[in-house]
């Protein structure tokens, strides 16, 4: 089964069923990671077909190949530089015109292409019939109709793919623009001809006229006068048409796409609004929509945290049941503390956090996203989220943050730009998760009353709003605005959901396991060797003088990095009683809890930050939050002193 190796890339707009095709093709042989140096997810898998070993790579879903979003640059670079043997362009048959717009760009890019005309069942239900043979003729690209979620047409797709690769490529068509544009493309082609480009010449000419900064930059290095020429040509086009040149070219490309679409499809007027249509109307309704959203969000939280919390407890009871066994083997010495307290507890923390919360979270997130409901939530919540410089989609990770920061952090990947992901990630780690709720309720709620606990929540929410806005102002990049397709509702493909959940979990554990274990052992070793007390002492200017806390809190805060509720558990152990009043004055309880809420995401959250944002940014978030917590804690302490509260 060694055979020849082939590489096939899947490309297409968002929401066309690309990931379903990917999962159907590659089965269990896949790997989900990030693109090197990027935070965009990269999914790769292998399959065997007709004696070939085929690597399939799922390029990020995109809208067009010209705007400079991360996904698009990645896809385009991959197609040009890595030269896959074939690109399968997944096209949504029910929105043919817009999908063809992207197909035309792939053709211009000179990609070896076949088309998977997907969701023909959806199209048919909408009354759209497509003559795919005619489409094949016009584009001179093989077209295979598919219904990916039911596996229909995928075998044919693979056969056609192999056939196309074996046959080699026939010349593809050239997309003709209007006369004025065409004339200038050819002039540019003329000067680009002999400078040794790695890109197709005509494509470069078009991109230059479209003002593609990335290409401009590259050509400028070879021959600086060419981009200048392109600019003046673009200005000529702008003068003739009265619109900026990129707009003109895009319009004309859409015109071509529209013309082809009209030629190959027949649309029967639909008789009545479909079920999806009706659900759409209800779920975006200005009253019903919010009601349903509250119910759904509540349901999601209940499922993830109710089920997760239950399972987490069961698992942790089960796993902690092994402690006596370890004690009997290792005794009570430092060895047991390191092995059990560091290594095993680290593993337990991972298992009890990762499995119960992350699995249902990934499943539900995928289902929400794939069914199309996420887009409706974003639609309804956009105004509110703008207050912290994000748009509607950020609502989901923010909500999740009240349960556990880990899924919340991972959920930030639904944001489109790196900047938005980072702001969202920063904000969600500041939201009190279930573990922090334990501290809030166990300390402030119990001893100072529910009013003070509520005060903490409100203070935290204000901080989130202010910091969100601040991050939004400080971080470079364009301000956020919602441009979002609202895809038709559809049933999510369960098999894909489960597989994606599995592979993402695997990826998460790969980062979090070592991190949790190493840091757990490190802290235990520090504790046993007495370094921890020294550190507590060193920290005392901050903890005692600035924050007004007892010296012991230094140790607590260090342990809290592992899991935030540990701060309370450890306090109990050190005091030998749950009567915290003997150790902390009321004002200290408040300050301490405030610091615990803000000071640093727990180690599992840091791990998920690393997965989403990579090391540098994860560290930046962590350090910022430590400093910030110290600042706010100290200020709160002083304000309370001045107001003579809680003394």
């Amino acid at each position: 089964m060694s055979g020849k190796k082939l590489r096939i890339a899947l490309a297409g707009n968002a929401n066309v069923g690309k990931s379903v095709i990917f999962n159907q093709l590659t089965g269990l042989h896949q790997h989900i990671g990030n693109w090197p140096g990027k935070t965009v997810e990269r999914a790769e898998g292998t399959l065997h077909f007709k004696g070939y070993t085929i690597d399939v790579i799922d390029l990020p879903g995109i809208y067009s190949l010209s705007t400079l979003s991360l996904e698009e640059v990645i896809s385009r670079e991959y197609i040009i530089m890595e030269k896959p043997d074939l690109v399968i362009n997944v096209v949504d048959a029910s929105i043919l015109e817009r999908n063809l717009f992207f197909t035309l760009q792939l053709i211009e890019l000179g990609a070896p292409l076949i088309i998977a005309l997907n969701q023909i069942d959806v199209a048919e239900r909408k009354g759209i019939k497509i003559d795919y043979k005619r489409l094949e003729e016009i584009l001179q690209v093989p077209v295979v109709p598919t219904v990916a979620i039911r596996g229909k047409g995928l075998h044919e797709l693979l056969e056609k793919a192999i056939e196309t690769i074996e046959k080699g490529f026939s010349n593809q068509i050239t997309i003709r623009y209007g006369e004025e544009v065409e004339e200038r493309i050819q002039r540019l082609e003329g000067v680009l001809k002999n400078i040794g480009l790695k890109y197709p010449i005509r494509w470069v000419a078009i991109k230059l006229l479209e003002g593609d900064e990335y290409i401009e930059e590259e050509i400028r290095e070879i021959k600086p006068e060419i981009p200048d020429l392109a600019r003046s040509l673009a200005e000529e086009i702008e003068r003739i048409h009265g619109h900026p040149c990129p707009t003109v070219i895009t319009s004309e490309r859409y015109e071509v796409a529209g013309r082809i679409a009209r030629e190959v499809q027949r649309i029967l007027p639909s008789i009545k609004p479909s079920l999806g249509e009706r659900i759409h109307n209800i779920t975006t309704h200005k009253i019903m929509g919010y009601l349903i959203m509250v119910l759904v969000v509540f349901g999601v939280l209940l499922t993830i945290f109710g089920f997760g919390g239950y399972l987490s407890n069961v698992l942790s009871d089960l796993l902690y049941g092994f402690e006596p066994l370890f004690e009997s083997i290792l005794g009570f010495g430092p060895l047991k503390d390191i092995i059990w307290g560091g290594l095993i507890e680290g593993i337990i923390a991972n298992i009890t956090i990762a499995l119960p919360y992350i699995i249902p979270f990934y499943l539900i997130l995928y289902i929400l996203e794939d069914s199309g409901y996420l887009a409706r939530i974003a639609f309804l919540m956009d105004t509110l989220m703008h207050k912290i410089g994000l748009h509607g989609k950020a609502f989901i990770p923010l909500m999740l943050g009240y349960g556990c920061s880990v899924p919340a952090c991972l959920g930030c990947r639904i944001m489109e730009t790196e900047r938005e992901r980072l702001i969202a990630g920063f904000v969600v780690t500041l939201i009190p998760c279930a573990a922090r709720t334990v501290v809030i309720m166990g300390l402030v709620g119990t001893y100072l009353g529910i009013g003070w606990a509520l005060t903490l929540y409100i203070v935290d929410l204000m901080i989130v709003l202010i910091l969100g806005r601040l991050a939004f102002k400080i971080l470079p990049g364009e301000p956020t605005a919602l441009i979002m397709e609202m895809p038709d509702y559809r049933l999510p493909h369960l098999k894909t959901a489960i597989k994606q959940t599995w592979f993402r979990l695997e990826e998460f554990l790969k980062i979090s396991f070592p991190l949790v274990i190493v840091s757990g052992m490190l802290i235990r070793i520090m504790e046993i060797s007495g370094v921890l007390e020294t550190i507590s002492y060193i920290l005392s200017p901050v903890t005692v003088s600035w924050l007004g806390l007892p010296e012991i809190s230094g140790v607590l805060l260090i342990f809290g990095v592992l899991r935030k509720e540990l701060t309370l558990v450890l306090l109990e152990t050190l005091l030998g009683t749950t009567n915290f009043q003997s150790a902390l004055r009321p004002i200290q309880m408040f300050t301490f809890t405030l610091v615990v809420i803000l000071y640093v995401p727990c180690i599992a959250t840091i791990a998920s930050c690393v997965k989403e944002f990579r090391w540098r940014k994860a560290l930046a978030i962590t350090i910022t939050e430590i400093l910030f917590a110290i600042l706010v804690g100290g200020l709160a302490y002083r304000i309370l002193l001045i107001l003579n509260l809680l003394e």
Partner: protein
């Protein structure tokens, strides 16, 4: 576009270049709108407005698009009666 009522249709005349301040509309977004098929001459229908000055849902080239209001304001359309 924000002047259109729910259910009304119009044809896009132009997209005002953004100054980049406020909520929206740097060069990237302008490009993105165009790439989404909101080119001059395209017919659009306003389906729905989200409450609290929220985004606007439009129907264009066979699909639904949600646009932040600030952005929608910069899209000049000619109403069709």
């Amino acid at each position: 576009m924000t002047a259109l009522k729910e259910g009304e249709t119009g044809v896009i005349v132009s997209i005002e270049a953004g100054s980049g301040r406020g909520r929206c509309c740097g060069k990237g977004f302008h490009k993105r709108l165009i790439d989404m098929g909101l080119t001059p001459g395209t017919e659009i229908a306003v389906v729905k407005s989200a409450p609290f000055n929220g985004p606007i849902e439009i129907y264009v080239r066979g699909f639904r698009l949600a646009l932040g209001r600030g952005m929608a304001e910069r899209i000049i359309v000619e109403a069709r009666r």
